[in-house]
Amino acid sequence: MRALWWWWCGLLLLGSANPVAADSAEQLFARYEPALLQVRVLEKASGAKASIGTGFVLEQPNLLVTNYHVVSEAVLFPDKYQLEYLAVGQKKGQLKVVAVDVINDLALVSTDYQPEQRFSIQNERPVQGATIYSLGNPHDLGMILVPGTYNGLQKYSFYPRIHFTGAVNAGMSGGPTVDAAGKVVGVNVASAGNQLGFLVPADALQALLQRFIKDGEVADFKQQIDQQLVSSQQKMFEQILSADWQLKDFGPGKVPDEVVPFIRCWGESNVEKNKDQLKKVAAFCSQSEEIFLSQQFTTGRIEMQFEWLHAPDLHPLQFFSRYQQNISSANPDNQAGKEDVTAFECQHKVVQQPNGQHAKTVFCVRAYRNFAGLFDALYLSASLDHDKQGLISHFTLSGITQQTAQAFSRKFSEAVLWQ
């Protein structure tokens, strides 16, 4: 369950806090606890909780803020799920989503709950190293406060995220992180375990609020999400496609490297090992931050893979038999169910590149059922001109338009060169 994928680590953070901070932390918590709610997604048929998260009430306008991933089931399947809040003193009530931002994982929710003290947004970014406080209800254990450190924005991320050094755990999703003055600097969103937490910066929340004030409540969430996905994807690929791709040496050829800062690459090989006659060198690159759409459906990833296979001691037929095994299965790297996407349709042909080289090339596409004009695309190419070596290049893109997929495909296939 996505809302619970935080890592639980039981370190006591309060031990090292200085007396002044501890004092203000106590006051902060006492002051703002009434404005913190537990957000519950209830399955209508059974009346049981399907997932939980945290939300907080804003001063102006009177809205509850939480993560999109906390309320996604109620947004996409309103017939099956409903939302409920639980406030201090076991007060319960209904919630209704009024706006979402799937790219920054935020949702605005209207509520009848009106606490006296509410949260306001800090428009200035904290300084690196400042102590900030994450609030939320981890594992349904009750509202807590976690002090930690503001460590700037995550370095190699396309989507801006605050790097928070402090334990953010499952169930705290959607809770606020505040500065010493109690103003919201970010919204808890994810954790990579061991004191590594990530927050959506307050300016993303501010932007969503401005848009809500301007456009009002949205009638069709699917259409709004579709637009958000398309425009975010266009921004990302504008950067990728306009970049001057740096190539790196790879076996007998050249392949793209970290073409933009948010695409990271790794590699491995078995050439030193004497065991296998088939030598493999592999490199993987990815933009691995995905956009959460529902518990079965994620999108927004980019993945590129390169493999150089060579076997000087094998007969060409032996080599090709094993070469074929290496491309026989390729899978998309995002999660999607039958209700979310169509089946893949593929074309597979031997293609002659402009430089005269030949490669067996596969291109597969599946369409998003609920979001018009968006696709997942998969590309695989295996060079054929050499008897005992081959170069496999592969990419998958998720949540992409036809035009962008084709433009990326062209740039990618031209960048992979055999020298």
Binding site: F320, E345, H348, V351, T361, G373, G390
Partner: protein
């Protein structure tokens, strides 16, 4: 006029044939009879066959314990007339009586197909086919097994004789059937036919692998491969049944086609079942061979990119499909 008496087994196959010129023939287990029977339900002096003044043969029961019967299972009270070719029973022992004027079926010409099929039983040919099948198996092992894994090599090689043994079970079963029914096993021809079928099937598979790569995994190749395989299976079974079964030719072909269809449909059904499980993964042709095996003209990168438009429009059209 002489009389011919056939002693039949339970399946009405002839096990003894006697011819008598005399007017009376005695049957029973006692050694003083003309036809000495073995069945324990037959009396020592069970019945006799007599020719009357009109030349008609009469079966007379000699007050036997278990009685005598005439087709269709009518008990003989005292004496009963028999037609030529009629079956009668003494107790449970069946006999068929003919007079020597009885018409026999015309001679069968040599069956050319049967003669040709029988030639496949040539030992040298069988040895060659066996070698071919073995070579094909070793070749496919060689393709996938690395040289370094000696243990796996020897294990796979040890399995080969076992595989051959399993393959001989089918002709052995056919030979057994035919031995029981026609007193003629024809094991070697059946073995030859079967191995010939297997060798041709392997060759067909090889040809289709190359064709599949050459035509970029076109669906027509898959159809051609499957229908070719079906035709080969039907041909093999027809040839097997031709020698093993005593049926008319259309019936043999029908039986072979039916069995071949069941076998192919079963494998198709299995693949459909797995298909459903793997539905979410993309399906594409991954066949790779050196470029020299590619017989058609490669498309240009531009043509390939242009053709992908079709994928986008086709999947878009299926967005609303519920399945």
């Amino acid at each position: 006029m002489a009389v011919i008496i056939e002693v039949l087994n339970k399946q009405h196959k002839v096990i003894e044939r006697h011819k008598f010129a005399q007017q009376q023939v005695a049957f029973g287990r006692a050694y003083d009879n003309d036809v000495i029977l073995y069945d324990k339900h037959v009396c020592p002096h069970h019945a006799s066959l007599q020719q009357d003044e009109n030349g008609q043969w009469l079966l007379r029961d000699l007050s036997s314990m278990n009685g005598s019967f005439i087709e269709p299972r009518e008990q003989v009270q005292q004496a009963q007339a028999l037609r030529s070719g009629q079956i009668c029973w003494l107790g449970e022992q069946a006999l068929r009586i003919y007079d020597d004027q009885h018409q026999v079926a015309p001679a069968q010409p040599f069956n050319r197909i049967e003669q040709k099929l029988l030639k496949l039983g040539h030992l040298g040919l069988i040895a060659t086919l066996l070698l071919l099948v073995l070579l094909e198996e070793v070749f496919s092992l060689w393709l996938v097994l690395p040289d370094k894994q000696q243990a796996q090599w020897s294990r796979s090689l040890i399995d080969l004789p076992l595989m051959l043994l399993v393959l001989t079970l089918w002709p052995a079963a056919l030979a057994m059937w035919s031995k029981l029914n026609q007193h003629e096993a024809r094991f070697l021809p059946q073995l030859g036919i079967t191995f010939c079928g297997i060798a041709v099937m392997a060759l067909w598979q090889l040809l289709m692998t190359i064709l599949n790569f050459s035509l970029d995994g076109a669906e027509t190749v898959a159809w051609l491969r499957e229908s070719g395989r079906l035709i080969l299976i039907v041909l093999l079974l027809t040839a097997n049944f031709y020698l093993a079964l005593q049926l008319t030719v259309p019936k043999k072909v029908m039986l072979a086609t039916g069995l071949g269809l069941i076998l192919s449909l079963q494998s198709m059904g299995l693949s459909l079942l797995f298909d459903d499980m793997r539905r979410m993964a993309p399906r594409f042709d991954s066949s790779l061979l050196p470029m020299s095996f590619y017989l058609s003209k490669p498309v240009s990168a531009d043509e390939f990119a242009k053709a992908s438009d079709e994928l986008f429009s086709s999947t878009s059209a299926k967005r609303a499909d519920e399945d």
